[in-house]
């Protein structure tokens, strides 16, 4: 494109030449686009050709269940995966020693059929089932379980995800194919809640570096769960096919596809269209999304009790294990009366109604009511219900009388607090506004500090209050352990297992007691005592238990098990119950094939879509060239 040539009248070319050049240019662009299209093909390391047997059944009229996921998989290796999406998929691929009853969260057999502990509580013997086979035909035995635990105990790289489960293990062995023996350093009540996927030794013994192996090189991935993973494309989808030989019975759907939707409004659109069969939201559907789906044809919005608690934590004074104090938590919060006064001035019902718009349950004890055995509620005399007058009285008693509009301490300084809020969580911000108002009426100032990542000031102990929340497992050991002295950091400001720098002798004693108690009822009683202590302390003020709000298509899924069974959630259960139990809707009702290319209407859509796209583009090119040709003809 040299400027000089452009102005030379001699270089004017005849119309035929120009037309030819135009055609050449057009075909060049087309070729470029096509090449680009093909160039995308090698982007996927796991080409579908690797797993023809996986795709075939779906094509041959099999039933596919497609689930929209908000997260993408971080790793398919059970030794590395941290995200809920990945651990949920592991539940489907591998067996764990035990499972949880969908009815009541009680431990039931998994890979192990029975278990017993020795009299000294230090040796656990598990009977491993003999009717479980790996998907490559080899038998799954106690040796695979022993290998899995031993690997985590001896290789730090293999302990990244689940190392905490084996920290107290002394020795693990498999005297026979059906017997697994675990020796402990100290008694540990969580031995029936070891949520560790058991992997096949004959596959994993050859893995050299567990910190770099993501288990996504060879498909199908050998497993023994209700589904076998057959295909995975980063950031796009995970495909699993039903394990017809699964010992508990084969799943009813032939194929299960997890598809990544980074935008939840787009995922909701995909559900309305029928491209996916299920949407969980992130972490739940928003009230607006749920409202838009309610009453839609063929869509059911499912709301069940959540497994999370939403709390306000008060800084008890940050310190290290050695007792070194750090951080700048407000000294007034060291007084239990002040902490309780704050709690008394929070109207939890308003928060549930206005902020969660009814999609939550009012908070009480530390463990959500979903876990019936451990759920605890304060007695009437103990209860810190919304009572601003009592709060004012407590503050007067604590030495913070109201002078004018403000509460003032002995040092003459007004009582002003900061609260750490997650900038990404709209609930934090909304509740922050309510707190400002309620505590403002009491004469307490509040600054809501919203940050993208609160962990730095949090672990530096540089906060007064903070919005807090944890997802609770059927076994409550972990969420209790994060409030023990052992969880405090070694060095100041370093992140550690502790949640809120709580370190109390009484609480620690109770924690050790429940950990060593193998009788479920007695252990539950101790766990309730711990919650009672936590409630009175005012360190963790449970505001609400947000519900799980999710939706699915009833023309794809006829029935699906929730957990708890009576009225529970579907995504992120403890166990594989939902996807394993899902029954496809009858073929006549519009196709249970969730994938957009799976059924006839889907492929028709593809054809129509492509034809329309080509027509629009072609039309534009045609019009364009017609116009040009017309002017040229006019002039010539």
């Amino acid at each position: 494109m040299n400027v000089r040539d452009q102005h030379d009248p001699q270089s004017e070319s005849p119309p035929q030449n120009r037309r030819r050049r135009r055609t050449l240019f057009a075909s060049g662009v087309a070729a470029l686009a096509l090449t680009a299209g093909l160039a995308a093909a090698p982007a996927a390391p796991a080409a579908p050709a690797d797993a023809p047997q996986a795709v075939a059944p779906a094509k041959a009229g099999g039933k596919t269940l497609t689930v929209a996921l908000a997260q993408s998989v971080d790793s398919l290796s059970p030794f590395l995966a941290q995200r809920l999406v990945s651990t949920s998929i592991h539940r489907l691929m591998y067996e764990y020693l035990t499972n949880y009853d969908p009815k009541d969260n009680k431990t039931i057999p998994g890979f192990a059929t029975e278990w017993k502990s020795s009299a000294d509580k230090l040796t656990w013997t598990y009977t491993i089932r003999d009717d479980s086979t790996w998907s490559d035909g080899k038998k799954a035995t106690a040796k695979d379980a022993a290998f899995t635990f031993n690997k985590m105990m001896t290789d730090d790289n293999a302990a990244q995800a689940n190392g905490s489960f084996v920290a107290n293990f002394k020795k693990v062995s498999a005297p026979s194919d059906t017997e697994l023996v675990i020796e402990l350093k100290k008694p540990q009540a969580t031995m029936t809640a070891l949520d560790v996927p058991i992997v096949p030794e004959h596959i994993w013994k050859d893995v050299k570096d567990y910190s770099k192996f993501n288990n996504d090189e060879k498909f199908p991935i050998v497993g023994n769960g209700p589904f076998v993973l057959t295909d995975y494309k980063t950031d796009q989808y995970v495909k699993l096919k039903a394990n017809k030989k699964f010992w508990r019975g084969a799943p009813k759907f032939d194929e299960l596809v997890f598809r990544t939707y980074k935008d939840q409004d787009a995922a909701v659109a995909a559900l309305r269209k029928g491209e996916v069969s299920f949407v969980a939201g992130a972490p739940a559907l928003t009230p607006a999304q749920a409202a838009s789906l309610k009453g839609q044809k063929n869509i059911k919005v499912n709301e069940g009790p959540g497994r999370r608690f939403f709390a306000i934590a008060t800084n008890p004074g940050a310190r290290t294990k050695g007792g070194e104090k750090f951080g700048d938590g407000h000294p007034a919060l060291l007084d239990q009366k002040v902490r309780q006064a704050l709690f008394l001035a929070v109207d939890r019902k308003t928060i549930v109604d206005k902020v969660f718009q009814g999609h939550a349950v009012e908070g009480a004890g530390y463990i959500p009511p979903r876990f019936k055995d451990y759920f605890w509620e304060p007695s009437d005399s103990q209860k810190l219900a919304y009572d601003p007058e009592r709060a004012a009285k407590l503050l007067d008693e604590a030495g913070y009388p109201k002078k004018g509009d403000k509460r003032v301490g002995k040092d003459g300084k007004p009582l002003d607090f900061r609260i750490l809020c997650h900038a990404t969580d709209p609930n934090d911000k909304a509740i922050g506004k309510y707190l400002k108002e309620w505590w403002g009426d009491l004469g307490i100032g509040l600054e809501v500090q919203c940050l993208d990542d609160v962990s730095v000031p949090w672990y530096a102990g540089e906060y007064d209050l903070a919005f807090d929340g944890w997802s609770v497992n059927p076994d409550p050991d972990f969420v209790l352990g994060i409030h023990t002295c052992a969880a405090l950091p070694e060095k100041a400001k370093e992140s550690a297992a502790t949640d809120n720098f709580i370190c109390d002798k009484k609480f620690d004693e109770l924690y050790q007691k429940q950990l060593a108690e193998y009788d479920p009822a007695k252990r539950a009683a101790t766990v309730k005592d711990m919650q009672s202590w936590l409630y009175d302390s005012g360190y963790m003020n449970i505001i609400a238990y947000p519900n799980a709000v999710e939706a699915y298509r009833t023309d794809h899924i006829k029935s699906i098990k929730t957990m708890p069974e009576a009225s529970g959630n579907i995504y992120g259960q403890d166990g594989y119950w939902s996807w394993w139990s899902a029954v496809p809707a009858s073929a006549g009702s519009g196709g249970a094939s969730g994938g957009d290319g799976g059924d006839d209407s889907g492929s028709t859509g593809v054809v129509i879509g492509v034809v329309v796209g080509v027509l629009v583009l072609g039309g534009a090119v045609f019009l364009f060239s017609r116009r040009r040709a017309a002017t040229a003809d006019d002039r010539e």
Binding site: A36, G37, A49, A159, Q160, T260, Y459, V610, V612, G613
Partner: protein, 358 residues
């Protein structure tokens, strides 16, 4: 940097003069010109290399300014003991002093190793090369389309400026330019993917493929998935090219050389296409190269709305954490792409406009 070297418009009289001077001037000046050009190109390339290194250094510190604890974030909400946290920190090298981490980073980066992604446990380069084709396909196609559309409409509107078509097209382009891309994307999904009223849902709601297709069916499937995101990108992107092309062509239109061309008896069409447009293209050319640099960067918002498995979506995930090795590398590559595209424009410019670089 390119903006400074953008020349004023080349007027025909001068250009013709140069054309005349060229052949008669003999070998001496031409050799001189080549030498001058090489010196000019070398300066630009050296400048680019310095910029690249500066970006490499910046990428290390920039994301460490965000107060965060990657290890804690990564394991958030899971039962993790203090020992495990310590192990992870050691594995990622976060227990090293900052200067040591910096030296390691620069040293490794110079050999092409950008480390391991914290959250994906895979080499950063592997993650980037896996996501790059999807981004190139989407933004590359959109780039070709919006550049072509912008040039075409820009020429048309300028040539018939003040007319109905001009007013309509300029207003439409500006409106679309001001629309947030993620909002437009969602709107397109609701209307053309789910379907509203009589409009059927023709296109998929997201992703790059349905999965399981091979051969030509795969190409068709990917093309089907591309339509809505490409439309979004083109709609939001073509206004820039249109406006620059329109205004530079308008500047040309009063020029004497066009009157001369018409006086020679050339058709209006030829005057526009062979005389006015090539000169008006120069500023647009700069813009095209700037945009070309952004092709690699992908489109974070559009890729997220359409769940497109490209670099934009990867960056979105990497930033939460942050996954330091991944954000560092992506930041570096994007900056590098823009720098390279600009350098390319700088180096090519004198070939198009001989006044530059002498």
């Amino acid at each position: 940097m390119t903006a400074e070297s953008t020349p004023a418009l080349v007027h025909s009289a001068e250009a013709d003069g140069l054309a005349d001077a060229g052949p008669s001037a003999g070998r001496g000046p031409r050799a001189r010109n080549t030498k001058a050009y090489l010196r000019y190109a070398a300066t630009k390339i050296l400048g680019a290399a310095v910029s690249l290194f500066a970006v490499l250094v910046t990428s290390f510190f920039l994301f460490r300014l965000i107060p965060s604890d990657p290890v804690k974030h990564m394991t958030g909400g899971r039962p993790i003991s203090s020992e495990q946290l310590e192990n992870l920190r050691r594995e990622f090298g976060l227990d090293q002093p900052m200067w040591q981490q910096f030296l390691d980073y620069i040293g490794d980066a110079l050999t092409g190793d950008f480390g391991m992604s914290y959250q994906f446990h895979a080499p950063v380069m592997e993650k980037i090369t896996a996501a790059l084709p999807a981004t190139l396909l989407l933004t590359g196609t959109a780039y070709i389309l919006f550049t072509a559309l912008g040039l075409w409409l820009g020429t048309r509107t300028a040539w018939k400026h003040g007319g109905k078509g001009d007013r309509f097209n300029s207003a439409l382009a500006l409106t679309l330019y001001s629309v947030p891309s993620f909002w437009l994307g969602l709107l397109l999904i609701i209307v053309f993917s789910v379907g509203v009223g009589p409009i059927p849902g023709l296109f998929p709601t997201g992703g790059l493929e349905s999965g399981g297709e091979t051969g030509f069916a795969y190409v068709v499937d990917v093309a089907h998935h591309m339509i809505l995101p490409v439309i979004t990108l083109v709609a939001v992107g073509y206004a820039q090219t249109l406006l620059v092309m329109r205004s530079s062509l308008l500047d040309e239109m009063g020029s004497d050389y066009l009157t001369t061309a018409r006086a020679k008896g050339l058709r209006d069409d030829v005057v526009r296409r062979r005389h006015a447009v090539p000169n008006a293209l120069l500023p647009t050319f700069t813009l095209m190269f700037v945009n070309l640099g952004h092709v690699v960067a992908g489109q974070i918002l559009v890729e997220t709305v359409f769940s497109w498995p490209g670099l934009g979506g990867l960056f979105y995930e990497a930033l939460a954490g942050p996954d330091l090795p991944l954000v560092q590398a992506l930041f570096f590559f994007w900056a590098a792409a823009v720098i390279l595209a600009n350098t390319l424009a700088d180096v090519l410019y004198p070939l198009l406009d001989p006044r530059v670089g002498r």
